[in-house]
Amino acid sequence: MDFLKLFEPKTIAVVGVSLTNDRHPANVIYNKNYFRYPVKVYAVNPKGGIYYKEKVYKSIKDIPEKIDLAIIAIRAEYVPAVLSDCIERWVGSAAVISGGFAETGRGDLKKKLLKAVEEADFPIIGPNCLGIYSPGSVDSFFLPSERMVKPESGNVALVSQSGGILVDQMVKFAGQGVGLSRAVSIGNKAVVNELDLLTFFARDDMTDVIAFYIEGFGPGEGREFVQTASRFPKPVIVMKGGQSAAGSRAVSSHTASMAGDYNVFSSVMKQFGMVEARNEYEMISFCESLSCHPEPISGKVGIVTASGGHGAVAVDRCEISGLKVPPLAKKTQDNIRKKLSSSIQPIASLGNPLDLTGSARDDDFVTAASELGRLKEIDCILVLLLPYLPEVTTDVGARLSQLYQEVSKPIVAYVPHVERYRMFIEGFQLNNVPVARSIDGAILMVEAMKRYDP
């Protein structure tokens, strides 16, 4: 299957555009792509007519050009026939937005849909979904443009069975500054499922990290999914919906009742080096962290702080998460101390956490992080930056990020997220250092790299 037609179409047909209801999902989709995306858009409605001075085609078969992507938003019972038309005209791919299939008990319609396309090897997303959002290329979501919150383009692909969760994650990506390569809502996944998309994104140049919201795999699909994921060197983040489902049929067996469905899911994810996010807070932290540093660490953290309290809280959280904060030898400490600015030399505490005190300057942060970068007992640097300190400037993020290029050990930062400190935050983010909005969030970012096991 050629997924590129799906994500980077040059021509699309929107089937179901209404001439009477401008808020019809098909119209919303038509309008946003017509006005905002670099694609040629055709409207289809059996009644024909004129929409925005453009001809409305009675059938996809009447369009005089080859169509890369058909976005179908019509009543479920008409979908199989339209898909047959698509195959006849060599349409490259389709997203079926329409609901009313298996989720409402119309299993027969799904069968009809599959029958219509069984021989054709072309990707169909859905039905019952939002379809595809590919930054700068195409957007099949029926959400009005003015209400969509779009993350910047980036290297994380997001796949969700639920359209609602997908949109919500995108809002959070935007808020947290995580960039998106593609987003797909797969709905009932009659044709294209998680495994197909995993296989595509594993080879997709735009994508470095693949994140999934999964409600459940079909029979045996989970096994194939983890085996496939473990063959590719890209981090896969997975969040499971319906964790508490009591799926144990065999009450007479200890093993079956204790293993449960979710316990198996969670254990197998870990076994195959996938990063399981247990909630959406972890999901966003993991995506940000691995999008900047898609590499595994063993979890030996060096902490740079300007407040003893922040250092203590961070050590506690590291301990709980199974991360190590190795104490530094006296000799190492002496060596670092000599390089700090004279005002903090006598008062800094350098055992790890390295507490530079409230008098620390940018240079001290850079020195401390750079020295930690040289130590083999440390494989990740956590910087707790307090932007309200008088000697700290907005340059510090960019300077620390440069350091990352030199020491090639991942750096994670914590900066409180308020508008006033945006310059500090951007200094890190624009230079590919993940910035958390809390100490807990920063520890989760470190944890993500530890859980990833390629």
Partner: protein, 226 residues
């Protein structure tokens, strides 16, 4: 690993939906696992004869197609150390629903573990290992992996257990022979892969592991529903 004899046992057990303990033990013995010396006695004298030959103490368990959880109905008696007690136990068990004999085994000692498997709908055969005996449900201290598993998986399973120290030897308790445990689990997962079309789940609880061997002290195989 599975042969005609094993297939016959499974076929014969189909009417019950699960494999009775003596037959399950037989499957594991044929497949090369350690099981305690045992006999299926149909009279008290026969039971006593076995106990005197192998030596007391012994364990006695009720065999009945109607009793899946033997301990729930008082159908397991451990540490029986003389003929008189063995006979009393036989008489009591013989009155139980569907009584089909008394299973008598030589006692083994060591750390009680559970080894199990289920066929998961999404991931297929998975294996479970943890602290066994009656504490299984209480503590739920288990680790799960997708089958088949290798030695490295077993090591990480042990690392996942809160009671890891119990396996490594804790306050004077003898450490479990990790190589033997590892070999048992790896082999078990291979057997599960072979049986995956026929079973729903397997419980080996307890598997008693000591310094030299891992003995399957109880085995239950739930067959796949048609």
């Amino acid at each position: 690993m599975i042969n005609g004899e094993i297939l016959d046992i499974l076929k014969k057990s189909r009417k019950n939906g699960w494999v009775l303990e003596p037959d399950a033990k037989k499957i594991f013995r044929i497949s090369g696992f350690d099981v305690p010396q045992h006999t299926l006695a149909s009279s008290a004298d026969e039971a006593a004869g076995f106990a005197n030959k192998t030596g007391y103490p012994v364990v006695a368990k009720v065999v009945s197609p109607k009793i899946v959880h033997k301990s729930d109905v008082g159908g397991v008696e451990v540490n029986i150390d003389n003929d008189k007690r063995l006979k009393t136990v036989f008489n009591r068990f013989s009155k139980m629903d569907g009584f089909a004999g008394l299973f008598v085994e030589k006692m083994v000692s060591g750390t009680e573990l559970i080894i199990g498997a289920k066929i998961d709908e999404q991931f297929g055969p998975v294996v479970l290992m943890g602290i066994g005996g009656v504490g299984v449900e209480l503590y739920g201290d288990t680790a799960i992996r997708m089958a088949p598993v290798g030695k490295t998986d077993v090591k990480s399973m042990i690392d996942d257990l809160k009671a890891k120290k119990l396996i490594e030897g804790f306050r004077g308790s003898r450490p479990v022979n990790i190589d033997k445990l590892s070999a048992t689990l790896v082999k078990f997962s291979e057997l599960v892969m072979e049986l995956k079309e026929k079973i729903e789940s397997i419980d080996l609880n307890p598997v008693i592991c000591g310094g030299a061997e891992c003995v399957i002290a109880d085995a239950r195989i739930i067959l796949k529903k048609k």
